[in-house]
Amino acid sequence: MHISEGVLSAPVLVTGVILTIGGVSLGLKKMDYEKIPEVAVLTSAFFVASLIHVPIGPSSAHLVLNGLIGLLLGWSAFPAILVGLGLQALLFQFGGLTSLGVNTFNMAFPAVVSFYLFRVLNRGYNRYAFIFSGFLCGIIGILGGALLVALSLVTTGEAFLTAAKLIVIAHLPIMIIEGVITATAVVSLNKVRPELLTRKVKI
């Protein structure tokens, strides 16, 4: 879901940059000393995840992992995704430097949403709710990203509903896969490193 260089108009690009700057500065402020290595590891995961292509469905889609990253990092997902996308743009020519702001916001905002979603859904410390919320966060990451990409493309003349439908359908397989990956990751982290999670349960 990288938007290429020269697709979007200037107002959209500028809006993306401003929103991303806000998110990144908030994320950096909330990043503690102890959290930095975790952010770096998840940035690396995000950076290489885009190379894992899932050959199911009508279009070309790859892993994003923004749901998982957001769930673990909260607002710090913004700097992590900015660095990941920046390196992908520089080294792989995915997306572009001018569209970096928009792309970062499109991927990082759903990540932050899944962070709060995970906290809210696990108020009851129920084990099934715990697994389900992990699955849901994986889906929200991709679904939210797809909808934001469609929204960014509206200004280029693509009608929102058609674009959104196309992008969401293309990413349905990825959504399910990311849901499963996120749920699995959350369950295993809960076992071996519960301190990484904002909410934990006894399983």
Binding site: M1, V7, V48, A61, V83, L87, Q93, I167, R193
Partner: protein, 202 residues
């Protein structure tokens, strides 16, 4: 540190996997032959970019010359509209875009060869030929012979051109160095982050 270890192992696995599976970028290649320009387009995982818009611009004046849509093989071809450099822009779905620049020389060559069957080069008149001393041996015999040979060479080199396109396509893919380099940058940034946060604390 068990989790860290398992995450690192996961990362290594991801890198290994990535050499076969690739991701999100659209590629466009074009070549001119016999008065026509042929374009091929696909996503970097090899899937063809179907039903995507192709627009052809004058490379210098940026004027839109023609546009069309790719077929089910991600291919689109058109007659050369004019003998200048051509900028071919592909817009695929979901915000993917790429372009390919076809040089003026390449376009001119393709036109020259296609005009062979009718008559010899129109730009060279009889008087011009007499005034200018022949530069190559073939010119003494016939301009037609030279053009004919060019055409034969073009035909014979077509498979090589195809191979070159394949190589160019390979070069577009992220290499292992890119991936490892990127991970190195992230570790470096982590170091910088730790350095600054640590100083602030103590």
């Amino acid at each position: 540190m068990d989790t860290m270890k398992s995450i690192l192992i996961g990362l290594v696995l991801l890198i290994l996997l990535s050499s076969t599976a690739l991701a999100h970028k659209v590629n466009l290649f074009a070549y001119a032959e016999n008065d026509m320009v042929y374009t091929e387009s696909y996503f970097s995982d090899g899937k063809k970019a179907m039903d995507s818009t192709v627009e052809v611009f004058d490379a210098k004046s940026n004027k839109l010359l023609l546009s069309g849509k790719t077929d089910n093989n991600g291919e689109f071809s058109f007659k050369i509209p004019q003998a200048t450099g051509l900028r071919i822009v592909l817009t695929a779905s979901m915000g993917h875009k790429n372009e390919y620049l076809l040089s003026e020389d390449e376009v001119r060559d393709a036109i020259g060869i296609a005009k062979l069957p009718e008559k010899s080069l129109p730009e060279k008149t009889e008087t011009e030929k007499r005034q200018a001393p022949p530069e190559k041996a073939t010119q003494i015999y016939d301009d037609r012979l030279e053009l004919l040979m060019e055409r034969i060479v073009e035909e014979k080199t077509a498979p090589i051109m195809k191979k070159l396109l394949k190589i160019e396509e390979q070069m577009q893919k992220p290499s292992l160095q890119d991936i490892i380099g990127g991970l190195g940058y992230i570790i470096g940034l982590m170091g910088i982050g730790i350095y600054f946060k640590y100083r602030r604390k103590s």
